[in-house]
Amino acid sequence: MKSRAITWLVPTIYIVFLMLPIYWLLNMSFKNTNEILGSFTLWPQTFTTENYRKIFTDPTWYNGYRNSLAYVLMNTVISVTVALPAAYAFSRYRFLGDKHLFFWLLSNRMAPPAVFALPFFQLYSAIGLFDTHVAVALAHCLFNIPLAVWILEGFMSGVPKELDETAFVDGYSFPRFFVRVFMPTIAAGIGVAAFFCFMFSWVELLLAKTLTSVVAKPIAATMTRTASTSGYELGLLAAAGALTIVPGAIVIYFVRNYIAKGFALGRV
């Protein structure tokens, strides 16, 4: 019975540790500025939703969320769509330079965004895409496509080759087989790949901020501006931060049974 207690204790302590900073952020977001700066309180004494109201009524704020969601969704669709056939090729065929290609793709995951910030700005300015959602969506392909290929390849290698062969014997053409038979088979894998693309595009800021100024500005960049120019509006900042957790939480809930699998099935 003693070991059973420990089994619950360790994850519980860890989760409490994870939740404390998040609780503190929520706590701050429901306080007014006077209370935040005036005293140390464990929960809001003067409960206010003013900070959230401001975000939902001020376009410079809520447009930030719309911009972020727009490029994240675009990137997820692009990444998964092009990664699907490529992952199929890597899992089913040998071809000239396949191993080198795979390592080259993954090596882009190792490029520090700080290295690419300036050339990205110049490249996307030169082709006239600066400050558009498309620019950020395309830029995030740099690390999301290799990741999607890697995850999907892992899932596809788990599907026996007989499935393909039987389908071709039955007279399926390749595109029809791929969409009607193969994709439903690896639906979980597609979900996991989409989850990871969503995740890494949603949390990235350096490139997103470099490639936008006004029209396509992500929420995270709006937050940094507030922190630096309009004084110390901690409550507002906390509310904006708390709201950025929501989309992630929703997505996690849907893929909770596959998150762990998603990592494990890929090969490096």
Binding site: P11, A89, L101, L105, A117, V203, A264
Partner: protein
């Protein structure tokens, strides 16, 4: 591997991926290489300088200091997060509502935008009104992360442990859940100790996922930028100025393109080389 058929037409299936990634990787990389060997005095006039910038960067005390801090940071992160992640994964419930709850709650930090992570810890650690800072000072510690290098390092490491340990947990858990029950039953019949089960059954089964975990944690902690910059801004002084923070200061702050580009390439090559070495060593047994 041998079941794969040789088919060069498969290139058509990979072509879109190659085109998109090459567009984002090759053109900017060539631009960086270009800057790294040239000098400019404005007006878009460039002069070839050879390896001058590389020489300057490699011999500068500033770069060496930043690299030293970066290596120290990454070493501490790996030393804490890996054992901790494995320990938590071992203690996690195996099924039921407890498991779902663990997975969902533990994955939360991974989906919070990086600057929000920084801002959140900034607020959490404020010495006067943050829970962590206030608590530590109330317990008698002299803690102020904006003034003391020690406190800044402590906060930075605590933040990264908070942010990324779950990744190790998820990976280790995935490795553990792939072990068939029969293994444990056999171990129980043999009367194996808890340690023996871990050493001879669980650890070998986790080898592959832990290889991935080390690789991802090494790469990402070596590239850390946004969270650290929002939390400490590299301060106090230069105490927490890690490589990428220094790089952005030089490139976008001072607009010293040549040195910044040379530094970028050295930085990228260090990550690439270490990852490749590690990966080659770790997978050598699998090949034979």
């Amino acid at each position: 591997m041998s079941t794969k058929t040789l088919n060069h037409k498969a290139w058509w299936l990979v072509a879109p991926v190659v085109a998109l990634v090459a567009f984002n990787a090759v053109i900017p990389l060539m631009a960086v290489v270009n800057y790294s060997v040239q000098e400019t005095f404005g007006n878009n006039q460039f002069f070839f300088e050879g390896v001058k910038w590389f020489d300057a960067v490699l011999h500068s005390q500033r770069f060496r200091d930043a690299l030293g801090r970066q290596l120290l940071f990454t070493a501490i992160i790996l030393a804490i997060e890996l054992p901790l992640g494995v320990a938590i994964a071992l203690a996690m419930p195996r099924k039921g509502i407890g498991l779902s709850l663990c997975l969902v709650l533990m994955a939360m930090p991974l989906l919070i935008p990086w600057n929000v992570v920084g801002a959140m810890w900034n607020i959490f650690a404020l010495p006067d009104i943050g829970l962590l800072g206030h608590g530590l000072n109330a317990l008698g510690f002299d803690y102020n992360y904006t003034r003391q290098p020690g406190s800044a390092w402590f906060t930075l490491i605590a933040m990264d442990v908070w942010h990324w340990t779950s990744l190790v947990v998820l990976l280790a858990y995935a490795g553990l859940s792939a072990i068939p029950d029969a293994y444990y039953q056999a171990a129980r019949i043999d009367g194996a100790s808890r340690w023996a089960i871990f050493r001879h059954i669980q650890l070998p089964k986790m080898k592959r996922v832990l290889t991935i975990a080390v690789l991802l944690r090494f790469m990402d902690s070596f590239m850390i930028y946004t969270e650290a910059v929002v939390l400490t801004g590299g301060g106090p002084g230069n105490a927490t100025t890690l490589l990428s923070i220094d790089l952005v200061k030089i490139a976008l702050g001072q607009f010293d393109l040549g040195p910044a580009a040379a530094m970028s390439l050295i930085y990228f090559l260090i990550i690439l080389l270490l990852s490749w070495l590690y990966y080659t060593v770790m997978t050598k047994d699998d090949e034979s």
